[in-house]
Symmetry: C2
Subunit: 333 residues, 2 copies
Amino acid sequence: MATLKDVAALAGVSVKTVSNVVNGYAFVKPENRRRVEEALLTTGYRPNLGARNLRRGRTGSLALVLPELVVPYFAELAGLVLDAAQEHEWNVLIEQTLGTREGERDTLASLGPHMIDGAIVSPEALEARDFGELAPGIPVVMLGEHSVDLPIDHVGIDNVEAARVAVAHLVDLGRKRIAAIGAHPHRGTAAQRLEGYRLALAEAGLPVRDELVATALNYHRRDGAGAMARLLAAHEPPDAVFCFNDLLAVGAVRAAAERGVRVPADVAVVGFDNTEEGAYSLPSLTTVAPDKVAIARAAVDLLRKRVDDPERPPEHLRTPFSLVVRESTRGDG
Amino acid sequence: MATLKDVAALAGVSVKTVSNVVNGYAFVKPENRRRVEEALLTTGYRPNLGARNLRRGRTGSLALVLPELVVPYFAELAGLVLDAAQEHEWNVLIEQTLGTREGERDTLASLGPHMIDGAIVSPEALEARDFGELAPGIPVVMLGEHSVDLPIDHVGIDNVEAARVAVAHLVDLGRKRIAAIGAHPHRGTAAQRLEGYRLALAEAGLPVRDELVATALNYHRRDGAGAMARLLAAHEPPDAVFCFNDLLAVGAVRAAAERGVRVPADVAVVGFDNTEEGAYSLPSLTTVAPDKVAIARAAVDLLRKRVDDPERPPEHLRTPFSLVVRESTRGDG
DNA sequence: CATCGTTGATACAACGTTGTAAAGGTCTGC
DNA sequence: GCAGACCTTTACAACGTTGTATCAACGATG
């Protein structure tokens, strides 16, 4: 509870001199510096960040806006963003949108422009051009969907290519009826992964069958299980499934097991996100592994640059990914 | 970017009158109120929370201090705390401690006393009495370990009883060599769950064998797998395992599967936390299900009360739990 | 010795908000 | 017509911090 004033009184100097010591100003007489530092210790002074930021015009916080923390991918990402933000001495406010258009609108609109220095947003329903209106003047870095033509900073992997690689892996295994789970009418990433899926099939000379593309309105385990159940109930069930995230894959694996369908013997399964859960599930999941550390770092760094210079041209960063092959496509599960 | 001053100029009234309108003060002439509201709209005024809080002595934020967001239990809990905090118009700053003593000390010490109104802390290594020194003057609500005798607000389930119920379930299945995974030298919750384990064995007339109590220095999947591997390698392996959280259980199940040991036929497994992951794993996990919604709600409510009245006597709330029986002990997995 | 640049310390104002107190106005009841 | 009560608005100060300007002292330079 000690303020600069208290410390100054104790050290017998002016408030500003204490402020100078605290902020590492060079020209302070050694004698005074010593006394101030002593006073700082005995009072246990801690700067009032609210006041400091009011004066400096910064808040020292950043908002991380994402659908849901219960989704492991976002939980892992959030943890990494926290770490990266700490290096910039940023606190992180996390906001959940539930992935709905309304949730995302409300959240963005409610971000007091004075509460945060900027925001890292992982949108599901909203599109990049909505941001300008909803969060006017707030520096924003967008995660996920890649939309090069929009004037907003962006970090993400090449979703089309990642999906293509994943499905090509299933093709290499000799699978012929390859399904996709996760199509979605309004999600950019879903569209991109679907495109990669189609690309890989085309490259392999395989037809794209509508009945093998399963929609998922959410990307939870339940939705994966439901979609897999529908696929397996079909006349000619698939011999492989590409799921647009690991949760869908986990649900799909479970639905298969409940019907006595073996993974990967009868159906090979590939996920997306490389969550830890997938590495330990039975069978363990083959999955697309985005470099989450790189994503978190890049997002925070980009936000820092944007905050420091609002006029700089927007950047579109592509972070690397890899395909992690595990039991769900390898056969020894 | 508009301030009260701008709005006041536009409406032709004083700054304070605008402030009064914004804060719902009753005695404002209808005519003036109308003009101010109009000016508020055209300027798009949003209060500067930093300044407001500086003046009011509140920050509008609360810190949620937990080990790691990658641990699903904490991710789920964090999401629920976010929801509960929103109802109190609190923003939530999340801090990760990694569960180490140093991490927890550093985090608590670094919580600027001015950054937050209070903190909800889920400690692993620290003990309640450390809090007073580390975060002097900060209202704190503690999650988890139950220590009735300490003067600090607390929310948690009855860990001893929950563990007893879980192990009693294994006893009821007729298991005789029941192991425990998750013993830890410095964790209060570990000690309590271990006590419940011993209690249940004693009630069943079963001996407590040291070689069946496996230590886990972390509570991740990896640690569960390692502990299970050690147990299975023993002379007389267990026919049931009680794991102190779901992650340990997932790791244990995997380690069993890799060695051809069937769950639950050869070894029944019980987890703790009722994470969604456990509901979908193969086999699905029998687990202790704390009422996480109740925990999150109670913690936030308690913090609110503590902030409003720092002198009130500390409360120790016990939230309900249940045992969810699934395939990992039921036999049809 | 006068001048100048450097070093060191301080007073003051300002960031945007709200509590306090006080002042000006209107209304009531006698 | 006047005291008193009540409504309405405002000026001012303050929350804790830091940037700017100023001032004083010092040693070095010409």
